[in-house]
Homo-oligomer: 348 residues x 2
């Protein structure tokens, strides 16, 4: 027996609330979510699992039902019992959000006066409706959501509704599940506080009893090499204060991109948290029509030619996904903003 | 980009038939089988997947339907469309097998005269019936079987029916899928020749076209570190002739255990291939009643006290699973046989 898995588990759980004191290591986010949903269903003796549109939860044939993006779903029956609820998207959602900073002319918004974003309540009402109409009265087995939608191009629904969502779930004793690797627990600069099988229902003894009904194991999960790497990574994150770096550099990146947006009509939205940033490109700001694919491709190539490699994402493939390594510097952030600025000029 | 994944893929495919020239790396056997079934269904536009009883194909909620062992299945709807067919088990199966070397008194068997085991034809007829009655006329999407049942305690159904099974599947253009890590491709001393999505239906261009209908990726699959490890392992297997070692030492282990069986009524069956060996313990040889759990536990502990760590398996938990590292020696094999012999005395 190697001490590596125990050492890693100890270091990881030290970063979580005290009631989350047990680790089970899998090989991927998909495997983790597969197991999380199974545990939630077995433990709660319920069935429905609520996820949010535009969310990505894994590519296994089971989780394709949880992943609410047609780009990632095949025309074959997927895992069933998943209910894809409305996503409180501040840019493309029905009611905007976050003080409706990018509001359409047609929106009537009195948020500025009250200082409270009324959109959040409307999205919460949508979720209430989903629970009311598409789940049994007792509630769902689990609620599965990303703290920030990675594959969905850094769309951040958490800020708007996280607290209220938790309250919704808490009212019904369901499990509350965590995202896949794509959501980057550390990357956005904060520890993530909700884990599987957290939430009111996830009492450890009960979960253990449930899992003892059959056998479960994982051949490679928690292998000593991977655990040693994980421990070293946690050490470096702490020693080099990389989460703080994500926050500081991320803020600089976001500010720079917001400035760029003011002078570039092609940038419809700039969003994100820490170093998970999305820049949504549009052909028209008022209608928010996505930038046409050929122009998007030109812009994408021009960014590369300007010296920065970025990802592409979002449902229309019109969002630059910036998720650089946690160790990038403010100078890197400035260079990125400059490169995107040049690329937009080149693509115009 | 690291050259490690390409190097590993090249080395791996060199060991396979020329038509299997493309690798896609996943993180585990479960992930590989999840994807294999998805690909087979999408490509064939069929649904049913035939697996064998006593087989283990993964612990994901989807594959629990393929895994035909109640020990590994939870009371929750699993992946559907899996048909668990009869397993041609030479020891516990209806018709024995392999010249019915361990035949029950009640069996009438003329194999010894003809030199041909007639059991195989009967098992094949069972599979024909499964296809006839539980699948659509066009046939299943895939046939998923282990070359040797690892979790099912080294029960080897391949020797009996592999060729005929392949012919059965070939008659219908379905994919023919490979086992999980538990079946140990190298461990039993031979390369495994059927891979996903092999079989008549698995034309590469068609599979690629099918997968282009949506997006699929794997965050950690094919990571450079794992690929470098894999390449090094393949090198060591070749350089130290470890597959030949599996065959030679395995043969010695099997012969020793067969001798032990002659003088020990508790040993009902000795089986396996290479270094995947099972020793089935029984309370009664004629009825093949499994050894009672307390005696089994004593025997298990006594083996450990005699200096050898073995696994436990089989549906009744009454099989010693011997799957030592590929580098063990003939002296190790002899010591193992001796330890098990001592343990049986102690447990008696």
């Amino acid at each position: 027996m190697s001490p590596a898995p125990q050492a890693y588990a100890k270091k990881l759980t030290a970063k979580l609330p005290p009631e989350l004191s047990v680790c089970y290591f899998t090989n991927s986010g998909s495997e983790a979510n597969d197991l999380a949903v199974l545990m939630a269903r077995l433990y709660t003796r319920r069935w429905e699992v609520v996820t949010l549109r535009n969310g990505y939860h894994g590519a296994s044939p089971f989780l394709m039902g949880a992943t609410a993006l047609s780009t990632w779903r095949y025309a074959t029956p997927t895992g069933f019992g998943f209910v894809n609820a409305a996503h409180p998207d501040p840019y493309r959602g029905e009611w905007g959000g976050r003080l409706q900073r990018l509001r359409r002319p047609a929106w009537s918004c009195d948020c500025q006066q009250s200082g409270q974003c009324s959109a959040a309540s409307k999205y919460v009402a949508q979720l209430e409706d989903t629970l009311r109409f598409s789940c049994p009265k007792a509630g769902p087995a689990a609620f599965l959501a990303e703290s920030i939608q990675g594959v969905g191009a850094s769309s951040n629904s958490r800020a708007a509704t996280s607290a209220r969502r938790s309250r919704l779930c808490a009212r019904r004793p369901a499990a509350c599940a965590s995202p896949t690797s794509g959501a980057g627990h550390c990357h956005h600069g904060q520890e993530h506080r909700e884990r599987v099988p957290a939430g009111r229902g996830g009492h450890l003894a009960g979960v253990a009893r449930t899992l003892a009904e059959a056998l479960h194991f994982n051949t490679f999960g928690g292998n000593p090499l991977a655990c040693a790497v994980g421990t070293a990574v946690l050490d470096v994150i702490d020693e080099e204060k990389l989460q703080e770096n994500c926050q500081r550099v991320g803020q600089r990146l976001l500010s720079g991109l917001q400035r760029l947006r003011q002078s570039n009509q092609l940038i419809g939205d700039v969003r994100g948290k820490g170093l998970m940033v999305g820049v949504e490109l549009v052909a028209d700001r008022a209608s928010r029509a996505p930038l046409e694919a050929p122009r998007m491709a030109r812009l994408f190539e021009a960014t590369r030619e300007a010296g920065v490699l970025v990802g592409k994402g979002g449902f229309y493939g019109n969002v630059l996904r910036l998720q650089p390594p946690m160790c990038v510097t403010e100078a890197d952030a400035d260079a990125t903003v400059e490169a995107i600025g040049e690329a937009i000029k080149a693509a115009n």
